[in-house]
Symmetry: C2
Amino acid sequence: MRVAVDALGTDSAPGPEVEGALAALSDAGDRLEIVLIGDEAEIERELSGYAGSVPRSQLSVIHAPDRILPSESPAAAVRRRPDSSIVRGIRLQKEGEVDAFVSAGSTGAVMAASLIFLRPLSGLDRPAIGTLLPTSRGATLMLDAGANVDCKPRHLHQFALLGQIYAQDLMGIETPRIALLNIGEEPEKGDELALESHALLRAEPRLNFIGNVEGRDIIGGRCDVLVCDGFVGNVLLKFYESVAEFIVSLLHEEMDRTGTQLDVHGAFRVLDYAEYGGAPLLGVNGVTIICHGSSTPRAVQNAIGVAVRAVDSQMVHHMAGELQRQGGAGEA
Amino acid sequence: MRVAVDALGTDSAPGPEVEGALAALSDAGDRLEIVLIGDEAEIERELSGYAGSVPRSQLSVIHAPDRILPSESPAAAVRRRPDSSIVRGIRLQKEGEVDAFVSAGSTGAVMAASLIFLRPLSGLDRPAIGTLLPTSRGATLMLDAGANVDCKPRHLHQFALLGQIYAQDLMGIETPRIALLNIGEEPEKGDELALESHALLRAEPRLNFIGNVEGRDIIGGRCDVLVCDGFVGNVLLKFYESVAEFIVSLLHEEMDRTGTQLDVHGAFRVLDYAEYGGAPLLGVNGVTIICHGSSTPRAVQNAIGVAVRAVDSQMVHHMAGELQRQGGAGEA
């Protein structure tokens, strides 16, 4: 299996990408090859720091030093810059040279390139970004985390089908609990989107739909897959990340003030996003994993691990099959 | 000034209401009178525990033992049950017998009664629930926190005007920073509602509109007033409350495991909702403060304090004036 890794993605690229790739190779053994895409000289300089421990037969470098910045208009940048690391990585996958692409670069550009070159799966209106939210009982996959706004009920229905496959193939949950993010537990609560989506999800025999989940229920791990519009999903995700940081900072202040020692990192390990790898773009003809710009080597390593599991489990094939069944059933 | 307090509101009513009312009276001195509305015998039993320290000249009790439950349909319950503590409290305000009403009962019923009996302010489409979110730099007023879904841009525009008055009158901020909750900082980011609301807010000369604020910016206290649709506001608020609880529980586990002592309550005081009092229903002809069903005596006390400041500052009068100016300007 070959995974391409954007080495112009993180804020301090290519350091975290190189270190993460080497760790992932060490995890996976012989069967994994990684292609680093970015500034060849910088990548080689970084690799030289690891000297003898680099398995060169499993690691290649493609020179594509053109970096698309998060501030650029994604679609325009993707169309205009064929030699950017993001476009090269996605096209390698399109051409069958690699099986997956991992990037901590511009989320918009990675998404745009995936849509343009890999294309959405047949029967799907809009691919979604899935993200794993840490909860008190493991992780919940929330989708959409920001790829789509102004969603229609049929989009949320499709997200639920995609999420179910992800939970089965990558989280190992045979019958995942699927829920709709809403402002009340009762089916008649919510905005128009929630009301109609609830009805669609409840009527879907392929889903173990457990109903609505409120903001207060997320952290308790009430569901395995949480479906929502990308606006609220994105607000929630970014808020979650920042509130965890804030609370850790309050704690450090109190420890400094009182001279107490506590293993904050250990206590909050469950909240560590790096442990969960990147966020998959679900619903395209390929495996695209999106990471934070601030990703650590460990986050890159875990994102590559997610890519490997997605390829191994044939996630995309399963999603395509599920969506075709949906088309055949003549869903709204 | 007279404030009515629903003594059938909290989960363990009337204990927290009685204790909170007595504390509020002690805060406010002679100028405050409180009317407790609920089961007279139970209230008197509770009061008897305080013996000599009850200022009976400032405290009266109205017998209205009919409790509207959160599970009931709010509008129907309000119309059918004139002797419920909620309807009695709101009607007392309507009739000028009291200046404000504080309740930890059914949010829906308190809202419905306020809309039916007090009426929305002229020029306002929909009143909003404001809630104070703890941040690293004090509190941010977020509205709407759940009274309205499927909002239109003009609603968010009105929320901003209401929020500005609240921040001026109750938070003491002369020129509050008003922001729109969105999924990107740029004006062209967001869903249809956010895009159009951004344009309306930016064009409003009466507001110090600082632009979009993302989920990750809330906790840093980037704005004083955060405007959003009640769906996302409600999800965010409930999530915030639960994540804080979760993190405290993780911390306790770690302290138990390691035998460390840390003043968690002290470290996280800034996150304590009880410190912020209740959530005002903004935009009705009166002062209605909504509290959590799980409110402590201190939360009730602070909610009464919020009611007192709202009356003192003539918040409702200021809001009515602002909305009339809006009507005159022929806003969309």
